[in-house]
């Protein structure tokens, strides 16, 4: 067991003893076997000296118990790291930023406070999972559609606090953006509520975000200014009808016209999440192996660092009768309206030479329609929680050697074809020069459109449990990619603890004043530096000098 820096064994033991008294001995975990489960199972620094390993965990059941934990931690200056359901695999799992930090596991706080399908909102605690909320909605016959990430075992609250994203309609895909009002235990143990939640007897906690005065909620996401114990979310009504239809284009450069058209439709509110794919892209093949099938010829093209050239992929696509790109347009609403929007889309894209249109699926009342809930191609498009994303890295024709996990590289790119193709150039060049074999980088990589107004250029960097040298190179590759991306104005929206300092450093305008401002706030709000040291790259004064 690693003690946190600057905490004596005697103080650690005293804090643990007080946790046991207040929370109950059965909810305080310090045994190796228990604590091991809070390590990041997808860590690139697994079993390395710098792997951040917690010293223990405590599982409070109420906001009052969270307050008690925070007050005890303050007394002994014991650093804490709150998790909701702790399932943030690919972005750090449930591991803290600093070894010795004590986990505050909030899964016992799993109450669904309210779900309202007339005014379309919910209020939940951190331990509620997407599966829990979905089951509650189904059981009570609520006419609501959730917006969920991959996979569904995580927590709406926890996902929002890491700026997680989803798959349905514009603003709902931004999970932090669609939250409304929160309850937070501050580093001194006081409870604060924000927005209309701060108004006693207000009925509008989850409906009006701002109330009056400064909007401080952003301080509690990807940051370390408190432990969020309740959050409200705006929700969307279950649609009358769902239609998914595909536009396919044959050439690489058709991406420009495709994106322009999709932006035009989405910004008018005519479509939900547009899902881009290329039948030759390694990640698409891993996510949908039953649809996008590799050949040995394609595996050879994809097998070299940075993939093959545009010309070679275009030739492959022509030879095999494939499109270079496609985009799945998801329509929600009255059947008549969405059919008209689909007709409009075909007119809009009709000028692209060689364009093809295909209606993929169409379901009335999709969330009460068994055929839809069990048969829809992408369950996430209807907000139905699932675990299918774990096919990534698993053994398949496109991935003969399975990985032991992955971390996501996820820089933000402008929402245009030119910008995305520029990113192709930069990242494939980097992959070739750095001989990156741990990640599928190529000119077939597709824009990920979860964030409503920007793209994420996403690829997994694969992890090995048996090859430390592979991981060490992957860490170095990842750091190089962060630097190369930042040189072009691109940087991550979210990252695992190992890379959070580096990513925070790329938001560097005016000598990193953004980070320095957060540090000033940190020192004022959390003078003992107990709350999630290092989260979001924000270190308290106490650990700033020696931050890992």
């Amino acid at each position: 067991m690693k003690l946190p820096p600057d905490v004596s064994q005697a103080d650690f033991d005293a804090a643990v003893e007080e946790f046991r008294k207040v929370i109950g001995a059965e909810w305080v975990f310090t045994g190796d076997e228990d604590v091991a489960l809070y390590r990041d199972a997808y860590s690139l620094v697994w079993d390395e000296e710098d792997e951040p390993i917690p010293s223990g965990a405590v599982a409070p059941a109420s906001t009052e118990e969270v307050q008690a934990v925070v007050r005890i931690a303050n007394r002994y200056r014991l650093p804490l790291f709150p998790i909701s359901t702790g399932k943030n695999l690919g972005y750090g799992g449930s591991a803290p930023n600093m070894s010795g930090t004590f986990i505050v596991d909030l899964k016992r706080m799993n109450r669904i406070i309210e779900v309202n399908d007339h005014r379309n909102f919910c209020i939940v605690e951190p331990g509620v999972s997407y599966f829990d909320l979905y089951n509650h909605i189904q059981k009570h016959g609520k006419r609501l559609m959730m917006d969920i990430p991959d996979p569904g075992w995580g927590s709406p609250l926890g996902n929002a606090l890491d700026h997680g994203v989803g798959y349905t309609w514009m603003n709902y895909r931004d999970h932090f953006g669609s939250h409304c009002g929160m309850e937070v235990v501050l580093p001194n143990g006081e409870i604060m509520r924000t927005g209309m939640a701060a108004v006693p007897r207000a009925e509008t906690w989850a409906e009006n975000k701002y109330g009056f005065g400064a909007y401080v909620n952003g301080l509690f996401a990807q940051a370390n200014f408190g432990i969020v114990t309740r959050m409200g979310f705006w929700m969307q009504p279950a649609p009358d009808h769902f239609l998914a239809a595909m536009v396919k284009v044959p050439r690489y450069r058709d991406l420009v016209a495709l994106i322009d058209g999709v932006n035009f439709m989405e910004d008018q509110g005519l479509i939900g999440h547009p899902r881009y794919a290329s039948p030759m892209d390694p990640l698409c093949m891993q996510i949908e192996p039953e649809i996008y099938r590799p050949t040995s010829e394609l595996m050879e093209l994809n097998g070299q660092p940075g993939g093959a050239s545009v010309e070679k992929y275009e030739a492959y696509a022509r030879k095999h009768g494939l499109e270079f790109w496609n985009v799945l347009l998801n329509f929600y609403g009255p059947k008549e309206t969405i059919q008209a929007s689909w007709v409009y889309a075909q007119k809009l894209f009709g000028g692209i030479p060689g364009v093809q249109f295909e209606e993929i699926e169409s379901y009335p009342d999709p969330l009460r329609n068994q055929k839809a809930t069990s048969g829809v191609r992408h369950k996430v498009a209807l907000g139905i929680p699932n675990m299918s994303i774990f096919s990534i890295g698993a053994r398949s024709a496109a991935m003969p050697e399975p990985s032991d996990g992955h971390v996501w590289f996820s820089p933000i790119i402008a929402r245009s074809g030119e910008s995305f193709m520029r990113a192709h150039e930069v990242f494939t060049k980097a992959a070739r020069e750095l001989n990156i074999t741990s990640a599928p980088i190529g000119v077939t990589n597709v824009p990920q459109t979860w964030q409503y107004r920007t793209y994420v250029y996403l690829f997994p960097v694969f992890v090995s449990r048996s090859d430390k040298e592979h991981n060490r190179k992957a860490v170095q590759d990842f750091r190089n990619l962060i630097r190369i991306a930042a040189d072009h104005g691109w940087t991550e929206y979210r990252t695992a603890p190992t890379f959070q300092n580096a990513v925070a450093g790329t938001y560097s305008f005016n000598n990193n004043v953004l980070l320095r401002f957060q540090e000033q706030l940190k020192d004022a709000v959390d003078p003992a530096g107990i709350m999630a040291p290092g989260r979001g790259g924000i270190w308290p004064r106490r650990y700033r000098k020696d931050k890992p």
């Binding site: 059965e26 975990f29 228990d34 899964k107 331990g127 675990m387 053994r395 050697e401 399975p402 048996s466």
Partner: protein
Amino acid sequence: MATRRQFLQASLATASLATIAGAGDPAFAAKLGASNDRLKLEAALFEPRRAHSAGFAAAARRLGLPTLDIVHDITPVWLRVVQLWRNTPAAIAGLTSRTPLLLLEQSARDYGLRVVWRGEHRLAESGMITHSLEGPKGMLRTFERGVVHGADYDICIAHALISGPMVFGRDQDARLETVTTANGSTDAAPLYSWIIARRNHAFERGATA
């Protein structure tokens, strides 16, 4: 964790590898030391596309244990297991790739369940399969006896996990490192044998409801 455990070292590379016909029969189980002193397992999980995993499942069925197959999307099996755990701390076993084990282990902790047997089975460059096993001593002995008799390792794993004597407690845990012939297998991706069962812990049945 490992420091609290006893370690057994065994080298079975030179053991007789004659195949035993009728593995899965009561007679075979008797040879392996099948015991009534064991935990009741509810199901065995496997991946039909992995030959050894499928072999394990076939042996499990012969031993009377229902099996659940993971084809591509783990969601149906995961939901079924978690639903089971919501109602009872059921013990399950598997011989799968790493991801199903990881997902179930992460979920198991919420219900007071732990991995109490963990084995890695990896094809080595030598053409042999290396087995790194950690679990109750009696079960390790059952596996060991099976491979000495020359049965395929997947069958031996099924017998060890399903029929082997399972006395819990950290002082009962041991580790076994051994190798067997690959018997023609070229599947380079490792498989993991496992049992998830209850060990004293607070996240118990109903505690998180």
